[in-house]
Subunit: 225 residues, 2 copies
């Protein structure tokens, strides 16, 4: 299985996966520059697949290719954060509405319910990493249930762009107790088939998250993550 991963994936695909991972983990720090040839050597391949991977990651907003300056890992400012959260707010709210309209069965909502349970457990255990992971799953699954592939892709893209920042803010922000209540309310609205409520409640949830996060960033002068 794992062998197949390494075997059957093209170098370009591996480069995309690895570079993405290195960016999200901070191994390639925001704001730093890297020559194509360096990255090629690091990943043990030639420049060609590196360039192709960089091109893709560029259109996903994770980096920027600047002639002669190398590949620049894009930092995320608090203004960027605002832009991104504005988009997440709109598109996820739409997804919540659509999910409620779809009339999913209990079993079809199992993953969503599960993610909420995991968040509750994580809060109880005060395990913020676990909470963040479950939170991500909730939002991802919500969007999937929304049934719009393009929304899914855009939300995934935007989520990638803020993941680094989240790692930082996670330990500054208040315990996300309120956030969990929100999730439950949104879930309730979806499972009861109330589109408008699902939409509005999720919208409020996101707006609050945005205000909280951007507030933290500005307060702590964290201007490029």
């Amino acid at each position: 299985m794992k062998d197949q991963d390494t075997k059957s994936l093209s170098n370009t695909q591996r480069a995309v996966r690895d570079l993405r991972r290195m960016i999200l983990s901070g191994e390639l720090a925001a704001g730093t520059d890297h020559l194509e040839s360096e990255l090629a050597e690091t990943l043990g391949m030639s420049r060609t697949p590196i360039r192709e991977a960089a091109l893709m990651l560029e259109s996903k907003g994770l980096l920027e290719m600047r002639p002669r300056k190398g590949v620049r890992i894009l930092p995320v400012s608090s203004d960027d954060m605002r832009e991104i959260y504005d988009i997440l707010t709109e598109l996820e709210s739409l997804a919540a509405q659509r999910a409620a309209e779809a009339g999913y069965s209990e079993s079809q909502l199992a993953v969503l319910a599960g993610s909420i349970a995991k968040m509750d457990q994580a809060i109880e255990a005060e395990d913020l990493e676990a909470w963040a992971e479950a939170d991500e799953l909730f939002h991802q699954e919500l969007v999937r249930l929304g049934g719009n592939k393009r929304v899914e892709a855009i939300v995934a893209m935007m989520s990638d762009q803020v993941r680094r920042a989240r790692a930082t803010t996670l330990f500054i922000r208040p315990l996300p107790v309120k956030s969990n209540e929100d999730h439950r309310i949104v879930f309730q609205a979806i499972s009861e088939g109330r589109p408008d409520a699902a939409r509005e409640r999720h919208r409020e949830h996101r707006l609050q998250a945005q205000a909280m996060l951007c507030g933290i960033l500005e307060k702590h002068r964290l201007n490029s993550l």
Copy 2:
């Protein structure tokens, strides 16, 4: 000037520009496959810049690279249309709201006003091509005024994906008289600084456009444009 365009642009950039143009114009028809080497010969360059351009256009949703089958120009089904218009509805409405919040001066709204005037003229002259062009300008400028670069990029991407379809529907749809009224109302709300009104009116406008377009597509069984 034009010399500089040809000179200073890299082949990859030219390939992106030319392929995009060929796709939007229908010269590369939806659903058709094209070998990398064919495209390379057509554009008079090697496969390398073609591949890079194709990679970019792939992430913009205009085509798909399938090993051994060539580059496939993606068709747009009426389901796709729905997805895309859902996104346009949400993001443009947000832009309208933000534009109204920004409190732009009359001169800053000149382009937007101009596009409306052009649409009125076009309707009077029953010049649908001109109307479509001005309509596009309106939406593009609206989004620009919204002040969110990422929204701008996403909307541009989605607009590209439906442009082909629009060319087809343009001569089937009813004269866009109602559409022009909508634009004026949205403009009014923005210039008077009423964010909620701007948002809601634009939202309605988009929802109607979507219903109309998707209705036409399904009625005429136009399922892949």
